[in-house]
């Protein structure tokens, strides 16, 4: 479904990704773990068109994504929840969610909103509050909710559990698994490697801009090297 082949990318003269390759198959939940600064976010940015690769190819359903702008990529069903959340601060929670469905003209908004409110009831309660005045965790929920409004076919999540309470973290990860079960492919970046690996079909370990390890989620979770590095405290 999504293929990254020998990607090199970076910021200015800084090269972050070196010869990086990765695959997501239809209906698969793939996670990427790696140290801080390894290039996980950069990888997502390349896919969603926020930065362009220096070399290598990104292919989605057989078509190259190279040169497409972010909104064109979203229209193909690839939706990202970014680390910074990128919410529309002064707009209300509801407006943020409705805008999430920008690429889906003519859908029944109320129904779509209900779907999200079921997952995050606090958003229903605060539908008229400005996004920027929500707490850190509430904003994270809103960002995920907004992405789901787009009914993505490939959902990319950048550390969705950051700042969420333990209870919510688990809720969110379960929801992600449930989303995968509806046929959506998911590319997940998570610091809670243990939990992430436990729900992943496959996983990659990213190190200094290249893939160091690859394998089924459960298998990697059992790998001694991974255990030592990511499952510690």
């Amino acid at each position: 479904m999504l293929e990254l082949d020998n990607i090199a990318a970076g910021y200015g003269k800084l090269q972050i990704l070196h010869d990086m390759s990765l695959r997501v198959r239809p209906g698969e939940l793939v996670s990427v773990v790696g140290a801080n600064g390894a290039g996980k976010t950069t990888t997502l940015r390349v896919i969603s068109g926020l930065i362009s690769a220096l070399s290598g190819a990104v292919t989605y359903e057989g078509e190259p994504l190279t040169g497409l702008r972010p909104h064109q990529i979203v229209r193909r069903g690839i939706v990202q929840v970014s680390e910074d959340r990128d919410l529309f601060g002064p707009m209300t929670v509801e407006e943020n969610l409705v805008l999430g469905a920008w690429t889906r003209r003519g859908v029944r908004m109320t129904q779509e909103l209900e779907r999200i409110f079921e997952l995050f009831p606090i958003l229903a309660e605060r539908r008229k509050q400005a996004a920027q005045s929500m707490s850190g965790g509430q904003q994270q929920m809103l960002a995920i909710g907004r992405a789901l409004m787009a009914k993505p076919r490939l959902l990319m999540l950048d550390e969705p559990s950051t700042g969420l309470s333990p209870k919510l973290t688990w809720d969110v990860l379960k929801a992600v698994a449930a989303i995968r079960d509806t046929g959506v492919s998911v590319l997940l970046i998570e610091q809670n490697a243990a939990q992430a690996l436990s729900i992943s079909d496959r996983a990659y370990v990213l190190e200094s801009g290249t893939i160091a390890l690859e394998g089924p989620g459960k298998e990697l979770a059992g790998d001694e090297r991974v255990k030592k590095a990511y499952l510690g405290l």
């Binding site: 600064g37 436990s198 405290l233």
Partner: protein, 243 residues
């Protein structure tokens, strides 16, 4: 032991949202207090009120015996309190060293002294290799350490940390937790920290305070608190697999 921080009856609301109500907390000098609670419980607001970024609707905050309610952040800071932000806020155009020097300079003293102190703090926080990097281009882990280094450069007696571990991979967390524990041991620093990473909370705190909907719903020994059914219900949820 004397109290570092004394919070009495503090309430704060934002147009209909009661972010804090009648919060009372005492923090003994040299102790480490962990604050947990569901998202939106009011933890960050609580920090904002203590640090002077927000004015409480009611109540008082006493810092080392001095009433600081309504004081401006920089004056409170000079009484020995320092805070980090939930989202990192480096002085982006400056290098790590310059960031730390700028912080050290806010405490008087000459440039030479500030540079020495900054050097020490950078060593202590493991930032030596980063010292000449422009802080805008740092990654999460380095930024979190920079935040720490910067507040330490102000020679605080009380430190408020808002989710310093968020966004760090597990291997990165350990050294930070060690550093914090070490600071208390060697410098007698008082720590109040907000954290969702429960292992760290359990490992570090002398006592834990639980917020929910602006109220303190439980407090006490870490082990006691996590066993409290209301806390499990509101915050922890079911047992975490793999945790």
């Amino acid at each position: 032991m004397s109290t570092a921080l004394e919070v009495r009856d503090v309430s704060k609301s934002f147009r209909g949202v009661q972010a804090l109500s009648e919060v009372e907390i005492d923090v003994a000098e040299g102790s480490i207090v962990g604050i947990i609670g569901p998202n939106g419980a009011g933890k960050t607001t609580f920090f904002n009120v203590i640090a002077g970024a927000l004015r409480p609707d009611t109540g008082h905050v006493k810092l080392f015996g001095k009433d600081v309610s309504g004081m401006s952040p920089h004056r409170i800071s000079r009484l020995g309190m320092a805070r980090t932000f939930q989202l990192m806020r480096p002085f982006g155009s400056m290098t790590v060293r310059e960031n730390v020097v700028a912080a050290a300079l806010s405490r008087g003293g000459n440039h030479r002294g500030a540079h020495h102190h900054a050097h020490d703090v950078i060593e202590a926080t493991g930032m030596a290799a980063w010292a000449d990097m422009v802080s805008d281009s740092l990654h999460t882990a380095a930024l979190k350490r920079l935040e720490l280094a910067r507040v330490l450069a102000t020679r605080p007696r009380l430190l408020l940390l808002d989710e310093v571990l968020a966004g760090l991979v597990p291997a990165e967390r350990a050294p930070v937790v060690e550093l914090l524990a070490h600071l208390r041991e060697s410098e007698g620093l008082t720590l109040v920290f907000v954290e969702h990473i429960m292992q760290a909370v359990m490992q570090l705190s002398d006592s834990v305070v639980v917020f929910d909907r602006g109220r303190v719903i439980a407090s006490g020994e870490p082990a006691e608190v996590v066993a409290d059914p209301t806390v499990v219900e509101a915050y922890l949820g079911q047992e975490l697999p793999g945790a």
